[in-house]
């Protein structure tokens, strides 16, 4: 129990109730939509959940990376990450797990689990040679086992990273730091494979004909960007009357700003490379994924998704990239906060771009399908899902902040971290 609980900690119940209420509404719309055999309602839960799963996986990776590299700036900020991490399995349990278990939702979202589903070609999923070739991986038993594995693995890893760190607060032993160094070194490659599989199962498998071997790297890049944006926003709020008041300094903002710039470039590099390789190779099994995100199959003209992709190029890459080049953007709290907010919004747009467009079989149309549009009332449900899961994540962070030290008071690098200098 922390000696002086933060005044913010007492608000956790409000956030929890607000989050649960929002999720109840989202689940209601999802069930309504599923009742009409429409996948778009359940998809709102995928978008909202994956936004936070991505953010939290990014925080998990940052926690381990800063441990492995003995980052001197990290300890005061890393404790906030450690406090919020247990939200990861909980978000999965409130979204992906029940949707994978309930056959109606599973069949609507992951079409390959529904053998009777009619494809644009006129065949059923059961008669689809592409699925047959992939069925060693894409079968329901293995799929459900993998979903269970994500919950168990990430819970265990988070537990293993938190326990020695909190134990250090009371027994003041430096050996915990060495142990966490080893756990992180072993955890990074296993977590990297797990997050890749999670991205395959929760996002790429929504259009199961398509494949990209670098999809996991894209998801990692997005995760770190969201995690850094979350960190900038959270630490800013916590430095205004929270547990980082008087602790967070200009150099901490500078290092977070530099990482945000680096991962903005990395995200663009990975996203563009994926597009570029598929564009150059020009194989129909791959290009259709980008084609439905640019062209209307009925008219051949640009559809709404083209505008979304242009937003990703200019709003999610170019604008954050150009603004973060400037030193003052990285140290002036208000400017860094603005860029972090831009990245937060862009992350949601990127998830929309990756999850929502799909070929809806429509017999009698020239290509046999239409593309789900971008602008639908369900965008509001998506946003509500993001806010709902976000409120639960914040509630769990605040609840944990009242039960543990909010900075790692006996970390061997705590003074270096507090006095961190550019």
């Amino acid at each position: 129990m922390s000696a002086t609980p933060s005044p913010l900690s007492v608000h956790w119940r409000k956030f929890l109730f607000a989050g649960l209420a929002a999720l109840a509404v989202v689940w209601f719309f999802a069930a309504q939509s599923a009742g009409h055999d429409d996948h778009r309602g359940p998809l709102a839960l995928v978008v909202g959940a994956l936004f936070w799963v991505s953010t939290l996986i990014g925080l998990l990776m940052l926690t381990m990376i800063t441990r492995v590299f003995d980052a001197g700036w990290a300890p005061v900020i890393r404790r906030t990450w450690e406090l919020v991490l247990p939200a990861l399995p909980i978000v999965l349990l409130l979204s992906i797990v029940p949707m994978a278990l309930i056959p109606k939702f599973r069949h609507l979202l992951w079409e390959w689990t529904n053998a009777d589903h009619i494809l644009p070609s006129g065949h059923t999923v059961a008669a689809d040679p592409i699925l047959t070739a992939k069925s060693w991986f894409l079968n329901e038993t293995f799929f459900l086992a993998r979903i269970a594995y994500y919950v168990v693995f990430f819970s265990a890893l988070i537990w293993a990273l938190r326990r020695p760190s909190f134990a250090q607060d009371t027994d003041r032993t430096a050996s915990h730091t060495h142990r966490l160094h080893a756990i992180s070194a072993a955890g990074i490659p296993v977590a990297a494979v797990s997050l890749t599989m999670l991205a395959f199962d929760c996002l790429m498998a929504l259009s199961y004909h398509w494949f990209s071997t670098m999809y996991g790297v894209w998801f990692f890049a997005l995760s770190i960007r969201l995690a850094l944006a979350f960190t900038v926003i959270a630490t800013y709020r916590l430095s205004q009357g929270g547990w980082l008041d008087g602790i967070l300094n200009q150099a901490h903002r500078h290092v977070l700003g530099c990482l945000m710039l680096a991962f903005t470039v990395f995200w663009a590099y990975i996203s563009f490379s994926q597009y570029f390789l598929i564009y150059t190779a020009n194989i129909p099994e791959e290009t259709y994924w980008y084609n439905i995100r640019e062209f209307d199959p009925l008219t051949g003209s640009k559809n709404q998704w083209w505008g979304v992709s242009m937003y990703l190029v200019f709003g999610f890459f170019l604008l954050p990239f150009l603004t973060l080049l400037f030193y003052r953007t990285k140290i002036v709290a208000g400017r860094l906060l603005a860029v972090a907010s831009l990245i937060f919004v862009g992350g949601l747009v990127d998830l929309w771009f990756n999850t929502v467009p799909r070929q809806i079989t429509a017999a009698g149309t020239p290509e046999g399908f239409v593309v789900s549009p971008f602008l639908t009332p369900y965008l509001a449900v998506d946003v509500l899902a993001v806010l709902g899961f976000g409120a639960i994540v914040v509630a769990l962070l605040l609840r944990a902040s009242g039960r543990h030290e909010t900075i790692p008071v006996h970390d061997p690098r705590i003074l270096e971290s507090i006095n961190y200098h550019e």
Partner: protein, 180 residues
């Protein structure tokens, strides 16, 4: 600048403690000096602010190099693929921003690196094979256990006797005139 100063590089003094040189640097900064320097065996956190140094101008040359590289890459790929010898490759357009992007990107990186590398040479006034301070016997100790402040003759505030007295008032020892 009087005639005597023409052969003088500046006045140097040494300190034994980082805290002493740090405080002295703040006083030199507050006295309005612009042409002067501090030499230390290791980086001292906050010395930039104590000396009143502005941010390095090198990043501007990096940006300039990057933009130049991007434009050069565009011109190179456009001239070769779309203008001088138009060639259809894989049914792609003669020139778009997509297919030559690796070239544009690499040119951006290369020229930005040139801007950075030569930028720091320019602003550090390199290459330079000799410096008047190398003649000082105590300068070798600056890479070991001694800290040094040098007031340079090119500063408008410089006057040999006044500068020596100023350094003395700051607590510097081994006050020496450095000749060019």
């Amino acid at each position: 600048m009087n005639e005597r100063n023409e052969r003088i590089h500046g006045v140097a003094c040494t300190f034994r403690q980082p805290a002493d040189v740090f405080r002295a640097a703040e006083q030199v900064r507050d006295a309005g000096w612009t042409k002067w320097d501090v030499h230390t065996p290791f980086p001292i956190h906050g010395m930039d602010q104590a000396m009143g140094l502005p941010r390095s101008p090198v990043p501007r040359l990096t940006l300039l190099g990057g933009v130049t590289g991007f434009v050069t890459g565009c011109l190179l790929t456009w001239y070769t693929n779309a203008f001088d010898y138009p060639l259809v490759v894989g049914g792609k357009p003669f020139w778009s921003v997509i297919f030559p992007f690796p070239v544009l990107y690499e040119c951006t990186i290369l020229f930005a690196a040139f801007g950075t590398f030569f930028g720091q040479f320019i602003f550090n006034r390199l290459p330079r094979h000799h410096h008047p301070l190398f003649d000082l016997p105590q300068f070798a100790r600056v890479s070991d256990d001694t800290f040094m402040i040098v007031l340079e003759a090119s500063d408008p505030r410089f006057h040999v006797d006044e500068s020596r007295n100023f350094l003395q008032s700051l607590g510097g020892s081994e006050i020496t005139i450095v000749r060019d």
